[in-house]
Amino acid sequence: MVLAEHTGMRVSEGTYELIGKARELASALGGVTEVALLGPRDLLDQLGGAAIVVSVEHPALAEYLPEAYERAMLEVLAQRSPRLLLMSTATIGLDLGAALSVHWDAPLAAYVSALEIDHGAVMATAQILGGKVLAEVELPGERGIATVLGGVFSAAAGQPAGSPEVVHIVPPAELDALRMSLRQVVEAGGGDVDISVADMLVSVGRGIESQDNLEIVLELANALGCPLSASRPVVDAGWLPKTRQVGQSGLKVKPRVYLALGISGAPEHLEGMRNAELIIACNTDPGAPIFRIAHYGTTVDLFDLVPELVDRVRG
């Protein structure tokens, strides 16, 4: 079973990635693929990649609301008893996965980048410690949950292929007595530049060490005539605005050239930039995960490299 994620009446790309994988696993286990759709029924025709869509409708499910989703999912899980629940490692998976694991009494594997059936057992590979270690884990028993990293499975395999059977579930009474409410949806504020359409990006990570040092990389970005973007730690530190953040919790970018400076390459970041045409990475740690997806790499210190680059670009 896949928990569908949607915003603005559109099912997310990540949902299709999960449906595609779920179909493969279901066929290996001799089962069927179900999608849990909480909220608007109008999205049914976007979920034809599954055999069955389990729908729960209630005003509290119009937008994602943690407690409402949790209560509704527990009802769905109790009635449908899936072998495996797949969720994304985006906000909803981080927020809901572990709570469902406790209440539904099912083991959970987080940061999953591979899933397979091995002699009837559900096996997951999880990327932990910033992608430096892969853990192969088993989800034993009759039920399990995997929160899956975005971009690792193909979305093509989960596209609508037919008309699924629809099962309606009566919303549980708890949805009328929630301990939280949605006050407003805040759309992303427009930034000074849109990094998601840039032809080239100079992107900076934790290796920049301080806000003052940003000046150095900003000079390079200016010389190259492209925007400066960043990985999550730089934005969380408040050194650059959220609109400059590349990654799963930021923006997905696909420039022709992506110059990654002092970025280690945590899964959260790779998800946002893995589709760049040319990735050049500079990190003093030769074991940094960024080098696994970069086309070219160097372990020269960025503080030595960047001034040299500025000199050459300025000519």
Partner: protein
């Protein structure tokens, strides 16, 4: 109002991670451990709330975590009102060299919070090694409290809190949540405050770390680790060699070939 902030030590990712011989865990013996970066954000948000509305901020760590004394004294030096170190069943023993599972960690913290309830529990949104799920919602589920994670601001208004939960691409939801509640922080409203080493040393000399034995609530879990390994070097980048000037020459050549640099 009482705010509890759990603190966790994680391996410093700047260092090479060594695995145990049986390949089911990381070798903790020679690793450097540091405070989980999101827990630093959680502490900052708690201190901001305290400064604004006069709460008591209590940081809590597990005695089995490496470097936990240093971490808790740093929190005290930053302005936490109290620091508690939980002892109890040895969790590293139960779950082997893989470290402390989130389920076991949450069970101990839930045992503490059941005995000494908080109005607000603020945790980091995640940790680099929480293989079996994130702490905030595990803890909330064990205590049957409402929870919101991936939060970027918390404000108190009467018996409830207003939080902003963040989604991809900068979209967010503003939620009102009844207390008691558990909140997972992605980033605090401002960067975590800095505290000089001398102040941490002063806090250590002053003491003030309370030890407390607790009984864990029964948690979930059940994940079986078969093997851990380092990622294979597939799709490895072609490494540019030489000094900074040599590498800069090569990069500029690559950029020129793509038309990104004139000349």
């Amino acid at each position: 109002m009482r705010i509890v902030v759990p603190m966790k030590a994680v391996p410093d990712l700047v260092e090479e991670i060594e695995l145990t011989e049986d390949e089911t865990g990381i070798d903790r013996e020679y690793l450097t451990f540091v405070l989980n970066e999101w827990d630093a954000q959680a502490l900052e948000e708690a201190l901001l709330l305290r400064d604004a509305s006069g709460a008591e901020v209590v940081t809590v760590g597990l005695a089995d975590d490496p470097e936990i004394d240093q971490i808790l004294y740093t929190a005290l030096a930053k302005g936490a009102d109290a620091a508690v170190k939980l002892t109890g069943a040895s969790l590293t023993g139960a779950s082997g060299s893989a470290g402390i599972r989130t389920a076991d960690r949450a069970a101990l913290l839930a045992g503490y919070l059941a005995a000494q309830p908080a109005d607000l529990v603020i945790t980091g949104v995640q940790a680099a090694d929480d293989l079996d799920g994130q702490l905030s919602s595990t803890l909330a589920a064990l205590l049957d409290l409402p929870h919101v994670s991936v939060v970027v601001s918390v404000e108190v208004a009467g018996g409830s809190v207003t939080v902003r939960q963040e989604f991809a691409a900068g979209r967010s939801h503003e939620l009102q949540v009844q207390m008691p509640a558990v909140i997972g922080i992605q980033s605090a409203r401002q960067a975590p405050r800095y505290v000089p080493v001398t102040r941490v040393r002063q806090a250590m000399q002053a003491g003030g770390l309370t030890e407390l034995a607790v009984s864990p609530l029964v948690g979930g879990g059940g994940l079986v680790v078969r093997r851990m390994h380092r990622p294979e070097a597939i799709g490895q980048a072609e490494m540019l060699t030489g000094n900074a000037a040599d590498v800069a020459d090569q990069i500029v050549r690559l950029l020129r070939a793509r038309g990104q640099v004139r000349g």
